[in-house]
């Protein structure tokens, strides 16, 4: 269960039914009061720290889009020098822009130097804060304002970057994927990530009602369907040993991907005016291939 104290106070300006808000709330409440949060620019930072207010009840540092991982590394080193590093958690909450695209270089550096920081990527699959522009986290076939579907376009034309596998390739102590529908699974992974001596990375799928075009009350359902259809696989791996990768939520009866796509307006051009069986088939084939690779 989430602890009784709320470290992310209400009154923040996240949209109603925001997946990122829920992800951050779960994470910071699980990590507890001895936590320092670092956040690059993104939905999270803009909505929770509207000057002169803050929604955080733990120390919070906002830095530039690129360098959240570098700033967190600095905090880790500074605390060590002061002899105050023990029993403190350093959490980074970055969006997909601050992880997949702009923050990747600093993130890679932090992994390589081995700082004891837990980096959480709250992935809502586009630049939602600036108006739903595509990024390397946007899935194949999705509508965004910069990947509009039309006569010659099916929406986003590139597949999603496998960020968690990129993180695992750094052979850091702990990498996991999680989503907000499975709270206990997420909390368990976060506790593991905080306990390891070195960098850890959690990729959290955080659906966005505004950008994905679904009703706000569907939030948990969409997140759950992403797992049940195999779009998002929940796994964890230690020390980058991909051969020992552990699937934490096994789905014995995988649902067809249409069920997930249908819930969101950003995929509606795949169903209307003509049913794009070819594109949906391709998305399904990619998922099947992924499961084959996982040996499921």
């Amino acid at each position: 269960m989430i602890e009784e104290t709320e470290f992310l106070a209400p009154g923040h300006r996240m949209c109603a039914g925001c997946g990122v808000a829920l992800s951050a709330r779960i994470a910071v409440n699980t990590a507890g009061k001895d936590t320092i949060v670092v956040s690059p620019t993104g939905c999270m930072e803009v909505t929770t720290t509207q000057y002169p207010e803050t929604a955080w009840r733990v120390p919070f540092l906002h830095v530039a889009f690129e360098n959240a991982a570098s700033a967190a590394s600095g905090i880790d080193s500074a605390l060590k020098m002061l002899g105050k590093r023990e029993n403190k958690n350093i959490l980074v909450f970055a969006g997909d822009g601050g992880t997949f695209d702009i923050g990747l270089q600093a993130l890679s550096g932090m992994f390589e130097r081995g700082h004891k920081v837990t980096f959480i990527c709250n992935d809502n699959e586009a630049y939602m804060n600036t108006g739903i522009q595509r990024c390397s986290a946007t899935p194949y076939g999705a509508w965004t304002t910069t990947s509009p579907p039309g006569k010659y376009s099916i929406g986003e034309s590139k597949p999603k970057k496998p960020i968690a596998r990129i993180a695992a390739a750094h052979c850091i102590p702990y990498v996991a994927t999680a989503t907000i529908a499975y709270v206990a699974d997420y909390q368990k992974k976060l506790k593991k990530a905080l306990a390891v001596d070195g960098p850890s990375f959690i990729h959290v799928l955080a659906p966005c009602p505004s950008g994905w075009r679904f009703a706000s009350d569907e939030l948990i359902e969409v997140s759950r369907l992403a797992v049940q259809t195999g779009v998002f696989v929940l796994w964890e791996v230690e020390n980058g040993e991909m051969e020992n990768l552990k699937i934490t939520k096994k789905i014995p009866q995988r649902k067809p991907v249409e069920e997930y796509l249908k819930t969101q307006g950003r995929f509606k051009h795949l169903f209307k005016p003509v049913l794009r069986k070819d594109v949906i088939g391709q998305i399904q084939a990619e998922i099947d291939k992924k499961f084959e690779r996982f040996g499921l």
Binding site: C15, A55, V58, D217
Partner: protein, 86 residues
């Protein structure tokens, strides 16, 4: 307004001064008899606007944005979304 050095905010959790309840167009209403205190709604609330009450879940209408996640996820149909009327 005087801006502090580094735009530092001294008061933790001061966003509670801003009541987001006004955003709501539907209001969640808890049925006390149906609530089993499983606290699933509490867990899934993105705005920390649900408290664990003595008899049932208690919604904080000052901050609830009316997203409807609690009503949708409640396994016992103990929360109903009713339109806000003036």
């Amino acid at each position: 307004m005087k801006i502090s050095i580094g735009a530092r905010v001294e008061e933790a959790g001061s966003s509670i001064k801003y009541k987001t309840g006004g955003w709501r167009s539907y209001r969640p209403v808890v049925n006390k008899d149906k609530c089993t205190k499983c606290w699933l709604c509490y867990k899934y609330c993105p705005d920390a606007a649900i408290e664990k009450g003595k008899d049932c879940a208690v919604i904080d209408y000052d901050y609830c944005k009316g997203c409807g996640v609690c009503a949708k996820e409640c396994k016992f149909e103990a929360i109903e979304m009713v339109p806000e009327v003036k």
